[in-house]
C-alpha cells in the first residue's frame, strides 16, 4: 500500500499542485470581490496560503517511505557525483574490480587443485597405501607412488585397517572413431568403497578383478555418456568399441565424479583385470582404501609397517642385483591421508599458485591503498562542502549516511565487475594450463567465500577512508572548516601524513611485484632461449606400437629398419633416428651401472647411428655408432661429460674403459666398452642438472621391443609430422601411431613458467600503474591545496622551474623511501620464488635496477605533470580565488 503510494507520488504531486492552484484562484476571486485590485488579489491569496513548495513537500513526504527516500536520494546523488568525477570513479572501481576479481580467480584455482576434497562420501577417511619414502625408482614406475599387483593382492590378504581398492591409469581407443580417451582400470572395490553409486546400470564385481586381461566390460563417465553417446539408456545389449573389440557396457558413473586425479578425468573405466604376465617390478597399481571404524591413518600405518616384511617377502622382486633385492625387502608400507585424491598439478603448481595468490593479495592491497588515497583526497576536498551543509542545518547522521552511500556504490559496482573479472580470468587460467595434449578438467565455480572476503576488505577500505574525513569534518565547527578551506596559505605537512605513508607503501609493494614480474619473465625468456644441447627445432617425433602378437620377435629389428628407410625416403626428410628415450619430454630410463670410481643408477638410451647428427649432439672424443655395431659385435657405449665426472673424475682419456650394467629382467648383465664421449645435453626437461648418461647402439637392445620412437628432422616439423603419419597410417594400418612436434611439446612443458611470467607481468604492470595513479593523485591534490602558496611564491618572484623542482623533491622523497622499503621486501620475498626461477638469482641486480628505474621514471612523470600545471598558474588568479 505504502509502496503503491510511493510509486504514484509524482501523480499525487501534480494533483496537489492543481488543487493549490485552484485555491489561489478561488481566494483571488474572493479578494477581487472584496475590492482588492486584481494585481494584488493573487499575491494576497498566496500570502494567505503560505509557502506553496513547502506544502507540496510536506505532502510528498507523507507519501514517502523515509529511509527508502533518503537512500534512493543519496544513491542518485552519489551516482551524479561520481559521474561528475568520472576519472576518480573509474580508477577506484577498476582498482576494486581487478583486486577482487584476480584474488577470487587465483583462489578458485588454488582451491580446486589444492584444497578441495574428493566428491565422495566422507573423503577424510580415504588413505593411500604406499611405500614410505618411495621405491627409489626400482623397476617400472608410474606417477603417484603406485605398488605392484602382487603387493596389492598380498596386502588385501593380510591387512585389517582399511576397506581396500586399487586402480591404475590407462588409456584406450574408444568409440566408433577409435579416438584416444583417458581411462582408469579399477578394482571391484573402487566405486563402492568411495561411496560413488552407479548413475545407470552397475559397476564391476570381484570376478572382474580375477578375470584375465583384456577386460570384457566397461563403465563410462557421465560426461562421456552425455557427450559421445547422447545419454542413450543402457540395455543388456549395450556395447562399447574399445581398441577394436566390443566390450559390454554395464554402467555409467554419476555426474561430477571424474576419478581421483585432480585436474584429470576418465572417459572409460575398465576392471583391474589380471595381466597375462603378472610382474613384480611394475609399480603401476595405486592402492587406496577407506579407514575402517576406529582406525586412524597413524594406526593403520603402524599396522602396515608390522605386516610389511611378510608382504615384501611374499612379493619379492627378482632378476635385479642383490642390493636391490635387499632394499626391496626393507620397504615399509604406510597409509597416507588423501582426502583430495592424487595430483600431479598439485605438485607442479603448488608453489606457483601460492605465489600467485600472494601476488594478487598484494595487488588487492595496492588497490585498497589507492582507493583509500582517492577517498581521503576527495573527502578532504569536500570538507568545505560538508561544513556548508552542516551550517545550513544538515544533520551529521544524514551527511555520514550520504558519504557512506557513495562509498558503498563504488564498492558495489567494483565488486560486480570483480565477478566478471574473476570468471574471465579463471577461464584464461585453465586455458593457459591446458595444452593440446592435456586438457585440464577442473570445476571452477565462482568461489563466493573468497569473493566475499575480497569484497569486504575492499568495501571496508572504501567506507573507512571515505568516512574518516567526514567524521573529522563534521566534528569541526563549520566556521573553522569554511575559513580554512582553500584560504590558508599552506597546509602543514602533517595533514598529508597518511596519504604519504600510503603512497610510500604502494611504491614499495609495486616494486616487489615489478621485481617479481621481471624475474619470472626473464626466467621464461631464459628457458625458451636456453641451449638444451639437443636440437628442438624441426624435430618431429613419431611413436609406433606394434602390439605384442602382431610382430614376432625376430621380425622386429628388420621391421624397424624398413620403417626408418620408408620415412627417410619421404620428400623433405633431412635425417631420421630411432631412440628408446626422447629427450626433453619427461620420462626416465635407468639401469644400475658400475664403472671407474662409482656404482649408481645411470640413464640408458639405445639410439640408431644417425641419432647424434639428427639432434646435433656434438661428439667430443672417440667415434659415433655405425652399421658395424651389431647384436653380435662387442657391446659399445658412448657416454656424456656428466658420466665422466661421476665415474672417471681423474681419467683424461676414458676411451677404451669399460662400464658394467647390472642385470635386470630382460636386461642381462653386460659390459660395454666406451668408444665415444658426447657433449652434455638436458635429459628429460630444460630444468635440472644433466644426469650421467650412457648411449648404446639400438642394434644391441636386448629386450623384446613392442614399439618404436622415431626422430625426424626437417625444415617444417608440423608439416612433416602430418606427412609421416599419413604415410604410416596408409602403409601400416595395423599399428598404433602417435606423434608430436618436439619443440611444441617442450614449450607446453613450460606452461607453469609461461603462466607465472604472464600473470606476474600483468599484475606487476598493474601494480605499478595503480601506484603511479596514487602518486599522481596525491601530488595533484597537494598542489591543488597549495595553489595560494604557489601563487604567492610566483608573485614574489619564484621561477616556475623552482616550483617544479620543489614539488619533484617532495615526490622524490616518497619514491626513494618507497623504493628502499620495496627493495628490502623484494629480497625477502625473492627467497620464496627461488625454485621457480631459471638462469638467474632472486637477488639479480639488473632486475632490481631495472624495476627501480622503471618505477622511478613513471613516478617522475606522474609528479611532474601536476607540478608543471601548478607552476603555470597565474599568480593573480590563484590569490584571488575563494
Amino acid at each position: 500500500m505504502r509502496l503503491l503510494r510511493w510509486l504514484a507520488r509524482a501523480r499525487w504531486d501534480r494533483e496537489r499542485s492543481r488543487e493549490l492552484e485552484s485555491y489561489l484562484d478561488v481566494e483571488a476571486a474572493d479578494n477581487v470581490a472584496r475590492g482588492i485590485s486584481p494585481a494584488d488579489a493573487r499575491d494576497a491569496a498566496r500570502r494567505k496560503l503560505g509557502n506553496l513548495t513547502r506544502i507540496r513537500e510536506e505532502i510528498h513526504e507523507m507519501n514517502g517511505i523515509g529511509w527508502l527516500d533518503r537512500f534512493s536520494g543519496d544513491l542518485r546523488y552519489a551516482a551524479r557525483t561520481l559521474r561528475g568525477n568520472a576519472g576518480f570513479a573509474t580508477v577506484a572501481i577498476m582498482s576494486l574490480a581487478l583486486g577482487i576479481g584476480a584474488n577470487t580467480a587465483i583462489f578458485q584455482l588454488l582451491d580446486a587443485v589444492r584444497l578441495r576434497t574428493l566428491p565422495v562420501v566422507r573423503p577424510q577417511e580415504i588413505v593411500q597405501l604406499r611405500i614410505a619414502g618411495g621405491n627409489s625408482g626400482m623397476g617400472m614406475n608410474g606417477p603417484f607412488g603406485g605398488l605392484t599387483r602382487p603387493q596389492w593382492e598380498e596386502i588385501g590378504r593380510q591387512q585389517q585397517a582399511v576397506d581396500l581398492f586399487a586402480w591404475s591409469i590407462g588409456g584406450a581407443r574408444v568409440g566408433p572413431e577409435q579416438r584416444g580417451a583417458p581411462a582408469v582400470n579399477v578394482s571391484a572395490g573402487y566405486f563402492p568403497v568411495l561411496g560413488v553409486p552407479p548413475w545407470r546400470g552397475r559397476f564391476f564385481t570381484s570376478a572382474d578383478d580375477e578375470a584375465t586381461c583384456p577386460a570384457t566390460r566397461a563403465v563410462v563417465s557421465y560426461d562421456y555418456w552425455q557427450r559421445e553417446m547422447g545419454g542413450v539408456e543402457l540395455t543388456p545389449a549395450s556395447r562399447l568399441l574399445v581398441d577394436g573389440r566390443n566390450l559390454e557396457l554395464i554402467g555409467v558413473a554419476p555426474p561430477g565424479f571424474r576419478g581421483l586425479v585432480v585436474g584429470d578425468r576418465f572417459d572409460v573405466a575398465f576392471p583391474l583385470c589380471r595381466p597375462r604376465e603378472v610382474r613384480n617390478d611394475v609399480f603401476h597399481t595405486l592402492v587406496m582404501g577407506r579407514l575402517r571404524d576406529g582406525w586412524s591413518a597413524a594406526r593403520a600405518t603402524e599396522h602396515l609397517r608390522a605386516i610389511s616384511p611378510g608382504i615384501m617377502a611374499a612379493t619379492q622382486i627378482t632378476g635385479y642385483t642383490d642390493a636391490t633385492h635387499r632394499q626391496y625387502r626393507e620397504f615399509k608400507l604406510e597409509a597416507a591421508e588423501s582426502p583430495r585424491g592424487v595430483s600431479e598439478l598439485r605438485e607442479r603448481y603448488d608453489t606457483s599458485l601460492w605465489l600467485l595468490l600472494a601476488i594478487t593479495g598484494l595487488v588487492l592491497l595496492i588497490a585498497c591503498a589507492n582507493i583509500a588515497n582517492l577517498m581521503l583526497a576527495r573527502a578532504t576536498a569536500r570538507e568545505r562542502e560538508i561544513a556548508v551543509r552542516l551550517a545550513i542545518g544538515a544533520s551529521r547522521r544524514r551527511l555520514i549516511a550520504q558519504l557512506l552511500t557513495e562509498s558503498a556504490l563504488i564498492a558495489a559496482v567494483g565488486a560486480a565487475l570483480g565477478v566478471a573479472v574473476a570468471a574471465g580470468l579463471s577461464r584464461v587460467l585453465v586455458a593457459a594450463l591446458s595444452s593440446e595434449n592435456r586438457q585440464i578438467a577442473l570445476t571452477l565455480d565462482t568461489d563466493w567465500r573468497v569473493f566475499g572476503f575480497a569484497t569486504i576488505v575492499a568495501a571496508l577500505t572504501c567506507v573507512v577512508f571515505g568516512l574518516a574525513p567526514a567524521f573529522r569534518g563534521t566534528r569541526a565547527a563549520p566556521v573553522d572548516a569554511m575559513k580554512s578551506g582553500g584560504r590558508g596559505s599552506t597546509d602543514g605537512r602533517e595533514r598529508y601524513a597518511l596519504q604519504r605513508v600510503l603512497v610510500i607503501g604502494q611504491i614499495a609493494v609495486s616494486l616487489v611485484l615489478l621485481v617479481g614480474a621481471a624475474l619470472f619473465v626473464r626466467s621464461f625468456y631464459n628457458l625458451t632461449t636456453f641451449d638444451a644441447g639437443v636440437r628442438q627445432e624441426g624435430i618431429s617425433v613419431v611413436f609406433m606400437g606394434f602390439g605384442r602378437d602382431e610382430v614376432p620377435r625376430e621380425r622386429v629389428k628388420p621391421l624397424i629398419a624398413e620403417l626408418v628407410a620408408e620415412v627417410r625416403a619421404l620428400p623433405g626428410v633431412e635425417n631420421v633416428a630411432t631412440t628408446t628415450h626422447v629427450p626433453l619430454m619427461g620420462g626416465s630410463w635407468g639401469h644400475g651401472v658400475k664403472a671407474g670410481v662409482a656404482d649408481e643408477s645411470t640413464r640408458f638410451t639405445w639410439v640408431s647411428p644417425t641419432y647424434f647428427a639428427t639432434v646435433d649432439q656434438p661428439l667430443l672424443a672417440g667415434r659415433r655408432f655405425s652399421e658395424t655395431d651389431t647384436p653380435t659385435s662387442a657391446p659399445v657405449a658412448i657416454v656424456n661429460e656428466a658420466f665422466l665426472r661421476t665415474f672417471f673424475p681423474r681419467q683424461p682419456n676414458p676411451l677404451g674403459k669399460t662400464l658394467m650394467q647390472y642385470a635386470e629382467p630382460d636386461y642381462p648383465e653386460t659390459v660395454y666398452e666406451i668408444v665415444g664421449v658426447v657433449k652434455d645435453a638436458q635429459y628429460n626437461g630444460l630444468r635440472g642438472d644433466v644426469p650421467p648418461s650412457v648411449l648404446v647402439p639400438a642394434s644391441q637392445f636386448p629386450a623384446p621391443q613392442g614399439g618404436l620412437a622415431m626422430l625426424i628432422r626437417s625444415a617444417n616439423a608440423d608439416a612433416m609430422l602430418a606427412t609421416v603419419r599419413r604415410h604410416l597410417k596408409q602403409a601400416h594400418p595395423q599399428f598404433d601411431i602417435d606423434g608430436v612436434v618436439l619443440q611444441q611439446r617442450v614449450r607446453e612443458s613450460l606452461v607453469r613458467e609461461r603462466l607465472m611470467a604472464l600473470l606476474s607481468g600483468f599484475f606487476g604492470v598493474l601494480a605499478a600503474l595503480l601506484a603511479t595513479i596514487g602518486l599522481y593523485g596525491v601530488i595533484a591534490y597537494i598542489m591543488q591545496r597549495r595553489r595560494n602558496e604557489v601563487g604567492i611564491r610566483l608573485a614574489l618572484g619564484a621561477q616556475p622551474g623552482q616550483i617544479v623542482r620543489m614539488v619533484l623533491r617532495d615526490a622524490g622523497m616518497l619514491v626513494v623511501v618507497g623504493v628502499a622499503v620495496g627493495t628490502a621486501l623484494a629480497v625477502v620475498a625473492g627467497r620464496g620464488a627461488e625454485t621457480l626461477l631459471f638462469g638467474l638469482r632472486p637477488t639479480d641486480v639488473a632486475t632490481f635496477a631495472g624495476a627501480t628505474l622503471l618505477l622511478a621514471t613513471i613516478a617522475f612523470v606522474a609528479s611532474a605533470i601536476p607540478a608543471m600545471r601548478a607552476a603555470r598558474v597565474d599568480p593573480m588568479r590563484a590569490l584571488r580565488q575563494d
Partner: protein
C-alpha cells in the same frame, strides 16, 4: 491548535455537504467565530492524510464562482471516525472541565 483537532474539524465540516479546500478553511474559521485560526497552508496536508486513510474522498467539480476545484465528501468510514472522535472529544472536554472545577460540592 491541538494535534488531531484539525482532522475532526474537517470531518465535521464535511458532514453537511461536500466542499473544496477553500470553503473548508473558511467554514472552520466562521464556525469557531475565528477563535480557531486554521492556517490555510496546513489544511492541504491534513486533507491528504484523511483521504489517504479513506475517511474522505475527492472529486473535481466547479466552484461557486465557476472555477475548477477539488471537492471532498465524507465516506462511511469517515462518518464512523467522526462519531468516534466526537465522543472521545466529549469525554476529554468533560474530564478537563472536572479538573478545572474541583470545588463544586
Amino acid at each position: 491548535m491541538l494535534q488531531g483537532t484539525l482532522d475532526v474539524l474537517i470531518l465535521q465540516t464535511l458532514i453537511a455537504a461536500p466542499a473544496h479546500g477553500h470553503t473548508i478553511a473558511h467554514v472552520i474559521g466562521h464556525r469557531s467565530e475565528d477563535v480557531l485560526q486554521v492556517e490555510h497552508g496546513s489544511l492541504y496536508p491534513a486533507l491528504h492524510r484523511l483521504e489517504d486513510r479513506g475517511w474522505i474522498a475527492a472529486f473535481w467539480g466547479t466552484s461557486e464562482n465557476n472555477r475548477k476545484a477539488r471537492y471532498y465528501r465524507l465516506t462511511p468510514a469517515g462518518r464512523r471516525q467522526l462519531e468516534h472522535e466526537t465522543s472521545r472529544w466529549d469525554r476529554f472536554v468533560r474530564a478537563v472541565t472536572q479538573v478545572l472545577r474541583p470545588a463544586e460540592e
